[in-house]
Amino acid sequence: MAEGKKSGARAAFIRSVVFVFAVLGVYIYIAEVITDISGQAHRGSVATGVGPEMGREIFFGKGKCSTCHSLGGQGSAVRCPNLGATAGADPPFDIPIIERAALRAKQRSEKTGQPYTATDYIIESHFDPGAYVVEGYKNEMPVIWKPPIGLNADEEMAVDMFLQAEGGSADAAAITNSPVFAKLKAGLATLTSEPAGEAFKPYLAGDPAKGELIFFDPDSPTPCAKCHTVKGQGGKVGPELTNVAGSRTPQFIIQSVLEPSADIASGFEPFLIQTNDEEFISGIKKGEDAESFELMDDQGEVRKIAKADIAKLVPQKISIMPGNFREILTMEQFHDLIAFLLTLT
């Protein structure tokens, strides 16, 4: 009788365990499906070059703009004003954001007595979101160039260009010439500056013209343009440096040249892949989908590797940028290069 009790309890326990694993299987399957249809598994492409395309990625990604703002028919967020033109909506939400911005800029000028362009207004809404809140909406937008979002000047510019392009055309010059953008860059510089008393003083006064040659000349000891773009010229392996001095301190730039692994730019983290054939491939992740992984090597070549062929995928702490510039460059060359980089505001 006691044996019978024991075996009954054991059978019940085993049936329960089988049930638990069956339910877990269903749960994991649902999670896989959700991951797939939400696009979570496909995220990872990185737009390079400051422009509307990069701005769109930031709008729907790192900047988290789309969690509050819809864009016309895209998205259902209603917490903050829709930034697209919505047919049939109450004015002014039926016209594109760039036209709406022009109207708001006019009102803003009348209110403050200061001249405002549509671009100024768009930039101000990022620099100081509480300055001129749209009626009916709460003053709750975060300052996106500060933590935790912390967009840099390039990313800010890209978002501005993206919004300009919504119903108009992107105008980089209007942004760089905007006094509000200058304020924003100054704010960013303060944010990333070293504590007082440690102002940057170069050991030697470098020559920016010579530095530019070092940067772009393919025969120079460190042809930086092979990987970095400045004003439309150069490769896309590393981050764009067109406005690097506007968003980074001199100390940070020097550290990035001499110790590239100390602080790897977001979106340029290196990965090491070990294939099933024991091949090791390193590079920067450029994209990923359900079947494959895209890696760009230090020559700028993108290689697609099937996930089925990957034995191991390991994030790396060492940047693919060479870390031996202090041995390659002379003291003068180094200061020339830094002087050139510091002109990129």
């Binding site: 019978g4 009790k5 009954g8 309890a9 054991r10 059978a11 019940a12 326990f13 049936r15 329960s16 049930f19 638990v20 339910v23 877990l24 749960y27 994991i28 649902i30 999670a31 896989e32 959700i34 991951t35 249809i37 939400s38 696009g39 979570q40 598994a41 496909h42 995220r43 769109r56 990625e57 729907f60 990604g61 988290k64 789309s66 969690t67 509050c68 819809s70 028919g73 895209q74 998205g75 259902s76 967020a77 209603v78 917490r79 809140v133 009626e135 009916g136 909406y137 709460k138 003053n139 709750e140 937008m141 975060p142 933590p147 935790p148 979002i149 504590p195 994030p315 790396q316 702490k317």
Partner: protein, 703 residues
Amino acid sequence: MNYAQGVRKEGWWRSSAATFLWALLLALIAVPVLAATDGTVIRDEYRTFMGIGSRQVIWFVAEVHLMFGAFVLGVPIFAVTLEAIGAKTKDVRYDNLAHEFVKLLSAAFSTTAALGGLLAFSLFGLYPKFMAYMSNVFHDVFYVYALLFFAESFTLYLYYYTWDTMQKHKWAHVWLGVLLNVWGIILMGLANSWAGFMMSPVAIDPETNAFTGTVSQAIQTPLWHPINVHRLLGNIAFGGFIGGAYAAVRYLGAETEKDKAHYDWMGYISNFIGVAGLIPLPFAGYWMGREVYSVSSVMGNNMMGGAFSWTFILQAVLVGTLFIGSNYYLWVGMGRIPGAERYKGSIKFIEAILLICFGIWLTPHNLPLNPEEQLLLGGQYHPTFKFLGLMSAKNAVINFIILSTFFSFLLYRRGNKHDGIPFSRQGSKAKIVLCSVGAICLLVLGWYGNFLYHADPAMFDLPADRAKYFKVPAGLLFLQMAMVVVAIGLTFINKGKLGQALYLGVGVFSIVFVLGVYGFTIMKVANPLLRNIAFTQWSMMMTCLLLVSTIDVYLFAGAKEYGDIQWGKMPAYSQYILILLCMAIVLNIGLMGFIRSGLREDWHIYGVLRDTSPWAFTPTNATMAKMVSACLVAFLGIVSFVFWLTGLSKHEEGGGSGAEETHVVKGPVKGPIPVAGIAVGAHHRSADNLSQGLGVHRSDRGM
């Protein structure tokens, strides 16, 4: 002292010694780290454990520890409640059940402590820089935490091992259980303060990111109480559903009718406790979400409309499983209640409501999609259905789900009853209680209605002309106040059922159909007011639960029965529902932990200490599901092992199942029927009923 007592004493020392050792180890590892913060530079920011990333290790250990923590903190709350019900009503069934729960608790406690030690080791070893920062802020709290751990463990063992010896001083023993809960809640609060600080740090120097405040400030961050309340309720639900699964497995393996009856009843009570904890949880969650949003709109938006929006779809699947599963279990249970067939027709309507609400709750909210992803989804949002994913729709349906579940309980409760004694013939106590409950409802509704009616729109950053939008929710609150008076008046003239129907009907109409739809208008023209609409819905819904259940108690007081509930006559598949509910709550606790922790994204301490490890990214939902499933397997595996060990000890004592440790009482016993978390009213049972193994007295166990 006999053998069984010897075994118990030995067990007590073993458990106490284990707890002591773990607390000592915790203190030992804390000391060098605390010393390090006084001057030693901690160079290594991150380490790995045998090639496994630091995040995976911490995720797994912390999650399993939290699951055990939830169990050992949740169970004492309802164990002592059950014990108090037993003491008050002299119904020994509740005392037996409370003791059985506490027996599981004492076995699980040492495991929780051991896992806590492992978590502390892992954190200090794998995240030295982060832990140095946290130690710098909280080192005083660590010592208090360790001391409280002693207090809780000794109180627990005192509570458990004096169960028999203090039978003559039952209320003193109940207060010992209350003390155990006090320690447990303070312990939980201290641990929550660390999580709260990581999400909403205060007193931080903006230049150096150093903490400049006091320990008290570090504890009382804006998210501390929302996390406390959410976890407290979650722990009750968690403990209830775990107890339900335990009862289910024992039921499935039970060979005798007596055992089946015992574990069937235990399963029912456990499910009741689970649902009682579950019902207020969505609102505690809403409060917490609102506070998260107030701390950082970035975190708040990321939660519901950003990276975690699809995780909430998965959460909706789990919460839907909990509500639909609980209802289904009740409906199946009505099969063993003579007379309950009268309500069979209503069940299909409740089922339809639950499924429709579940579907709406599953509708995705805002999604951060790029064009490629939109192509993958097959285009833009549906012009109509996209609104079902918005907060207003979700608030409406969760209220409807809760009210429908409550309605299921009402049907279940009155399943085998004829009408009771007319209210007008009941004593003055009934009238005082009903009027008092009515007064509470009037106070809550009146206070909030008055606030909304006179609220200045500027408080919500809204222009003055939006004041008119405040009047609708205020008006509905005033209408519900009128219905309180009507429902009580009808009950006084012996038309309580009509009073209940009117109160529930008007409540559902206002909460779901008026405010649910009106919420969309509010979102468009006065968005900040939406949270007040949600609170209006919640307060009205809570008064529905309170007033209608109170009326119900007196409607069926002294009612004759169609027949006795046939405990132990549940079909086997019903027990798998209890196991499913247990899994759903365990998976849910893991999922919600993922969201809460993931909201910090690449910050250990939000906006202060950045996570610079290679693992500073948000894993996919698929990864989360696999990790949480692994935690579930580990948790349930260890729990099963611990419960098996408990069973071994019982066999040594010469006992059988919980039911076998008791003997049947000859004679009627008055017992309470739990309704909405309170035990009220008297319920007559016959000796035949008790012979099902329910009305039982504990024998002199182990003597």
